[in-house]
Amino acid sequence: MSAISHHIPEPLMAAYAAGSLPRPYALVVAAHVSMCDACRATVAAHEVAGGVVLDEMVKAPVEEDLKASVLALLDAPVDPEPEPVKRSGVYPGPVMEALKGRPPRWKSLGMGVKQCILETGDTGSVRLLHIPGGRAVPDHSHNGLELTLVLQGSFSDETGRFGVGDVEVGDEDLEHTPVADDGPPCICLAATDAPLRFNSLIPRLLQPVFKI
């Protein structure tokens, strides 16, 4: 756990604590926080700040009978909360939750690279990537903000090495060629606010290069 050296930037942490971070990024933050106590403390600190803001909030009176109806409901039976989904293998709880508790169903992108789309929608997309050692990480046209969290193995690029728990923050300005390090396949959780396009494009681009 102490080996994590690339963390989530502060503005994203504040937005996560405030509840304004789009869901794909929020999933990466939740997964990283599950692995990183430094960032867990950062979220909690922002929540203390949120509590201070709540304390100082301009009060809006509630309906007169609201308190009585809440008090009357204190003993009402409630359905037990579903147990939070637990970590499984390299996948932290929030990722397992997005996988609905099942192992990922990989789709091949060619050259041993696989992906499993967890969610895609108006606010962006988030997926798992599986890259064999020595291979390049696909899709590096950063159209927006891209967060990549390493769950297994590692990758390296011009900016450094990213191991388990590390997060790389990519944007329009980042020009780089990440390559999975030799060893076990690198498994990453990647979120972006750009639409997913490369599903069929990448294998087609790779074909002439690798003669497949």
């Binding site: 502060e10 403390a41 600190a45 700040a49 803001v53 100082e56 809006a60 903000l145």
Partner: protein, 173 residues
């Protein structure tokens, strides 16, 4: 809050309701809820405070921070009709006495944060409120929110380290 958690004290819960319900409603209305919807969410939030009281840990959160989280999550559930990705919960040691110095430390840190907020110029203060009420996107938030969070982070980190240590001890037994 501890009376609610440890003794299911209804009078204490009533006092908590009187203090927080109008503030939570203020927060929800600022987020754009109408009166009726805000009241409904306030009801859910206060019931959650009662039902989940056992999970409140004063070593890691202030009451206001804990209720802030519950209100934020419920608002996302209701308005965006999606759940919020949450980190794995750290297991709690069942009947560990909270460390009084840690709890006191948390209180002092929160008090200093409140004073820091009060000292800010109105425009800057308004920015911070907007940030924590979710009115600013991650792109609009800058590297510094203007609040000194460094010492409170270290304080919470201490609490986490202690918890990890205790959990390790439990597993070793």
């Amino acid at each position: 809050m501890l009376a609610v958690r440890d003794r299911q004290d209804r009078a204490a819960f009533g006092a908590l309701f009187d203090y927080y319900a109008p503030r939570v409603k203020g927060m929800l209305m600022r987020k754009g809820c109408g009166h009726g919807q805000a009241d409904e969410i306030v009801q859910d939030v206060m019931l959650t405070v009662w039902r989940k009281a056992a999970m409140f840990d004063p070593q890691r959160a202030q009451v206001s921070a804990w209720i802030f989280q519950i209100a934020r999550n419920r608002h996302i559930d209701v308005i965006r009709k999606e759940s919020r990705p949450m980190p794995e919960e750290l297991a709690q040691e069942p009947d560990a006495e909270p460390d009084a110095s840690q709890v006191l430390g948390m209180e002092q840190e929160a008090k200093q944060l409140k004073e820091a907020l009060a000292r800010l110029k109105p425009a800057q203060r308004e920015m911070i409120e907007a940030a924590y009420l979710g009115e600013l996107s991650h792109r609009e938030l800058s590297e510094k929110t203007g609040l000194p969070l460094g010492t409170i982070k270290s304080r919470i980190r201490l609490g986490l380290d202690k918890l990890r240590h205790e959990l390790k001890g439990m597993r070793a037994e």
